[in-house]
């Protein structure tokens, strides 16, 4: 099985502090990390390869420093990695991003399965996975919570929904996005870390993937961000309630009544 895992470098919230005035996260100065959801896609790909054979290729689009997340993927056991990096890709929305990734997947060739995390934690759109499937005209399964069975022609998976799940048979080639519950990601081995330092990660430009540059970057993106602003701040005061359990419960009941919940 030939599997491509699409991964993204995102700002880390781990070390973030809360602004005492607005009670929101201070974004400035955050480190860059591998999108947490992508760790589950990488783990699933590695498990599938170890069980059924084949290879796993990590693919990312971003600035040159995004190479770091590809090296992390190698340290976990992925076979090879490719970075899409060029000015022409800059400013791509989900349409243009999924176009570029789909061109790279087509260029790799012979791919059976593309795995993505369910969404990236910076944009939170969940649109790139299904977008790749649409560009390739492949079938898709989103919010995959379990792989039940793997056959030569496809996979049987559980898709998570708000009200439960369904089980579907998805023929290859396919694009799947996975949720956290699907597995427990491994930590890198020493051997993996050494491999990640040595490996050569090719950088593919639009010409390398046969991409139409008019469909990339800001010019290739149907959407435009016209303004960004902080959300309305939360009230900065905290009402503190102390006392006996009964007093606390009555005070809480009062708060719930104010909101017409009770």
């Amino acid at each position: 099985m030939k599997i491509v895992v699409c991964i993204k470098q995102v700002p880390a919230t781990n070390d973030a502090k809360i602004d005492p005035e607005t009670k929101r996260i201070i974004r400035e100065g955050l480190k860059a990390i591998l999108n947490p959801f992508d760790t589950y896609a990488l783990e699933e790909a590695i498990q599938l390869r170890d069980q059924f054979g084949g290879e796993v290729i990590a693919l990312s689009m971003g600035p040159p420093k995004a190479e770091a997340v590809l090296r992390e993927a190698i340290s976990l056991g992925v076979d090879s990695a490719i970075l899409l990096s060029d000015r022409a890709y800059g400013g791509s929305d989900t349409w243009a991003t999924s176009y570029a990734l789909s061109r790279a997947i087509d260029t790799i060739g012979g791919v059976d399965l593309v795995l993505c995390g369910k969404q990236a934690v910076d944009g939170d759109t969940a649109q790139v996975g299904p977008g790749i499937a649409a560009h390739l005209d492949w079938m898709q399964a989103t919010y995959v919570m379990a792989v039940d069975e793997v056959q030569d022609a496809g996979m049987t998976v559980k898709r998570m929904h708000e009200d439960g799940y369904d089980v579907c048979e998805v023929p290859f080639p396919a694009v799947m996005t996975v949720v956290k519950g699907i597995n427990t990601p491994r930590v890198p081995t020493l051997k993996g870390r050494l491999a990640s330092l040595k490996i050569d990660i090719p950088v593919w430009k639009p010409a390398d993937i046969g991409a139409d540059v008019e469909r990339l970057g800001l010019d290739g993106s149907p959407t435009r961000v016209v303004k960004t602003q902080p959300p309305p701040p939360r009230s900065s005061s905290t009402k503190r309630i102390e006392g006996s359990p009964e007093e606390c419960a009555n005070a809480l009941l009062h708060e719930l009544r104010l909101r017409s919940i009770v």
Partner: protein, 338 residues
Amino acid sequence: MITLTDIERSAYKNVWVVAEVLAGNIEAVTHELLGAARELADARGSEVWAVVMGSGVTEQAGSLAAFGADRVVVVDDPQLTDFVDEVEAEVLVRLIEKHKPEILICGATTRGRALIPRVAVITNCGLTADCTGLAIDSDTGDLLQTRPAFGGNIMATIRCSNHRPQMATVRPRVMAAPDAQEGRQAEIITEPLNQNDTRQLKKILEVFHSDETAVNLADADVIVAGGRGVKGREGFDLLRQLAARLGGAVGASRAAVDAGWIPYAHQVGQTGQTVQTKVYIACGISGQIQHLVGMQSSDLIIAIDKDPDTPLMQMADVAVVGDLFEIVPELIRAIPKL
């Protein structure tokens, strides 16, 4: 990029709502979107259309009319019983090409977020995920779409001037549903399922609807959530009782899920769900940043914890200092039974 000329753009009219049907019923988010669509259509001097795809859904057209649809496009076929992204996308693309809507909105549910990105790519259209605000720009007539990003820490307004339809998904419970007007009529447009629509048909082997309403975090007005301080499965039974009394859902921190006390579907936070509820009651949750980004947009945040200095107790609107195992049972007793 294929862009439209002014003349081509003017051929696109009306605001479409793609209905979400679960187990034969129209979901509340569809009613909410019909309310939002009405305001947009009024601003554009156009109509509200609902599109409903499924099996046995023709009878739902009346309910869509009652909530404000002027026309209802019905695609009723046994092959649409289960959610097959590829088939619904083919149908929707075909309907868009035929009827040319100016705006298309859909619930930002697991189904909507799988279906609409596929449609947007095929039709060369822009799509904005998880919008919390939709408005018409009075100068250009374009749809202005406002959405949170980075866990709600920034609000972005997005426009899509050169492509039609303008597409957006909207989270459940963000827009207010209008009152139903019983007896309100809509024109029904019946469209068949074409042979080509089912060229990519994946087999759905089983559909499991949870009876436990407590898991549907997106639709809940109240979420009672537990963390490490809940101490185990039995602690979550207590939270379930409180949630049931309040008609709410049960949420959990990553620590509680990782400990195996409650399934992942309940997890709130960066690697779980983002919720925006009226009241969020956090019991024994310290409030790691990854949890806070998933719930900080809730209207009222209540925290119950023995430790008054946790991040969540600091950021909450109401912080109750005490033992949740004493306070929660008292609260359950104090709430009048319905």
